[in-house]
């Protein structure tokens, strides 16, 4: 039996009650506050999500600008389609050829070059297809088609689009490559599959580096100009999609191309991996 007649007890109980009351009020007060903060939908690619770059940048943006961001990480194709149907406010993508139609149609406006990273071809360290000896990316793709197993993203992402472009450049119809499989999944999952199946795959350097520790895959080809991965950010045009939040989207674009954030992009995980994952491109003078 608890006795409340001791003065100290009475004080404690009344404090407890007050704390509870305030707690409940605080929850009710905070709820509409959370609702009323403006927020935008960012449609982006799985590679930016998997590398952890967005996890580093988005909270900073939300804090500095007071705008919430809902990150939808899908393939570039889907991200662009979301923009095309007005389901997003801002897109961060890396497939310039696929981006063109949306720019021309007026769905995407205010595009800015943000950064690039590059693609590398990874494969089993033993390199059964002999990709390491190839001088061009075309030769590398031909060697894989002839002697290797290739795992494709197959999800119409920027990486997938890039891969298809590489096959086209090598004059190979990917559907005729016998040992080519599509995962339809993100880069991380696709790297896993390639690793387990002793296969080759095309990956952005960032995702590969961030997962290198637990993979057997090694870089077997890199550095060809055809392997550059260029990221643009666009706002969705409210003239075509009335619900698009242009002002907030512009804030996000400004943020990405601001000197401080460009620096942050360049140094993102540089210490951890000993090399940059992303190279800022928005401020040409600084390069």
């Amino acid at each position: 039996m608890v006795r409340y007649d001791l003065p100290i007890m009475r004080l404690a109980v009344s404090r407890l009650r007050r704390a509870l009351l305030f707690g409940i009020l605080a929850v009710f007060a905070a709820y509409p506050a959370a609702q009323s903060r403006p927020s935008i939908i960012l449609a982006t690619t799985t590679s930016t999500q998997d590398s952890g770059l967005l996890d580093a940048l988005v909270p900073r943006f939300e804090k500095e600008r007071g705008i919430g961001v809902k990150v939808i990480a899908v393939g570039t194709g889907a991200a662009l389609r979301m923009a095309g149907s007005g389901d997003a406010d801002v897109v961060l993508v890396h497939a310039p050829t696929s981006e063109q139609p949306y720019i021309q149609s007026g769905d995407l406006i205010d595009g800015r070059l943000v950064m690039h990273n590059d693609f590398v071809i990874v494969g089993p360290p033993s390199d059964p297809a002999g990709v390491r000896g190839q001088k061009t990316v075309t030769g590398a793709m031909q060697a894989i088609a002839a002697r290797g197993v290739f795992i494709s993203r197959g999800d119409q992402s920027g990486t997938h689009t890039q891969e298809l472009a590489l096959w086209a450049a090598a004059k190979i119809d990917p559907r005729t490559v016998k040992r080519r499989e599509e995962t339809g999944q993100g880069m991380g999952a696709t790297l896993n599959v390639a690793d387990q199946k002793r296969a080759y795959t095309l990956t952005d350097r960032g995702t590969y580096l961030s997962q290198r520790n637990r993979l057997m895959l090694a870089i077997v080809f890199q550095g060809d100009p055809g392997l550059r991965n260029i990221y643009h950010v666009y706002a969705v045009n409210p003239a075509r999609h009335p619900k698009a939040k242009l002002a907030e989207a512009k804030q996000f674009i400004d943020f990405l191309v601001s000197p401080a954030i460009q620096d942050a992009i360049g140094s993102f995980k540089r210490e951890q991996f000993g090399e940059s994952l992303f190279f800022p491109d928005a401020l040409p003078a600084r390069r």
């Binding site: 393939g75 889907a78 999800d155 499989e181 995962t183 339809g184 999944q185 999952a189 896993n192 387990q196």
Partner: protein
């Protein structure tokens, strides 16, 4: 239905069908034993089985993935990202369901029926067969529940199968892929195929179940 969808549908049926079949082969005798025998820890075991009936597929998928990856204990078999791996995961998901339903349906039979068959001299296998026929209402419900659970499951299939277009993409993982590609119409079409598949299988099993029923 295009050729690609047909291939995925047939593969879905084959993988989930094989897993269901295996889970019946393993689960029915276990359920039968649980219903008929009394032993220490039986109730606890039943508790585990009942928990297993609601196992989250992704967790099962993760466990199977850890077991089958090349660095895992069964890595030497190189089963990860193969249809076999998916059958294994789906089998693990389906078996507790089959055991749970089987135990319940055998327990609902009159104990006198078992006495009768014993005194008529039915051997173990014959007994199991005759009782299974008596309990077929419950057993077919077990098959339907198990098949329905694994054919509509996506987490484990995605993790251990890898959603490879030519070998391990099934209807559910294809729906995920098409949705993330933004091909919503195709995803929806695949969804209808999946529903139709469940419908056909369940109607067929229900007909078998209700046949000769007064």
């Amino acid at each position: 239905m295009d050729a690609g969808t047909l291939v995925i549908t047939v593969r879905t049926l084959a993988i989930s069908g094989a897993a269901t079949l295996l889970s019946i082969i393993v689960g029915v005798p276990i359920g039968y034993a649980l219903a008929r025998r009394q032993f220490a820890g039986r109730t606890v075991l039943l508790g585990f089985i009942n928990t297993g009936m609601g196992m989250p597929p992704v967790v099962v998928g993760l466990i199977v993935w850890l077991l089958l990856v090349r660095s895992g204990p069964f890595g030497d078999f190189e089963l990860i990202y193969t249809p076999t791996a998916m059958v294994v995961a789906q089998f693990l998901l389906a078996t507790p369901i089959v055991i749970g339903f089987t135990t319940a349906s055998f327990q609902s039979l009159s104990p006198r029926l078992i006495d009768l068959l014993r005194v008529l001299g039915a051997g173990r296998v014959r007994m199991l067969w005759l009782l299974a026929r008596e309990a077929r209402l419950g057993l077919l419900a077990a098959v339907m529940a198990a098949f329905g659970a694994i054919v509509s499951e996506v987490g484990a299939s995605m993790i251990v199968g890898g959603n490879l277009e030519r070998s391990t993409r099934v209807l559910t993982t294809a729906i995920v892929t098409e949705t993330s590609r933004g091909e919503v119409e195709r995803a929806l079409a695949l969804g209808f195929v999946l529903l139709a598949l469940s419908l056909v299988v369940n109607v067929a099993l229900t007909i078998a179940q209700q046949r000769n029923r007064p």
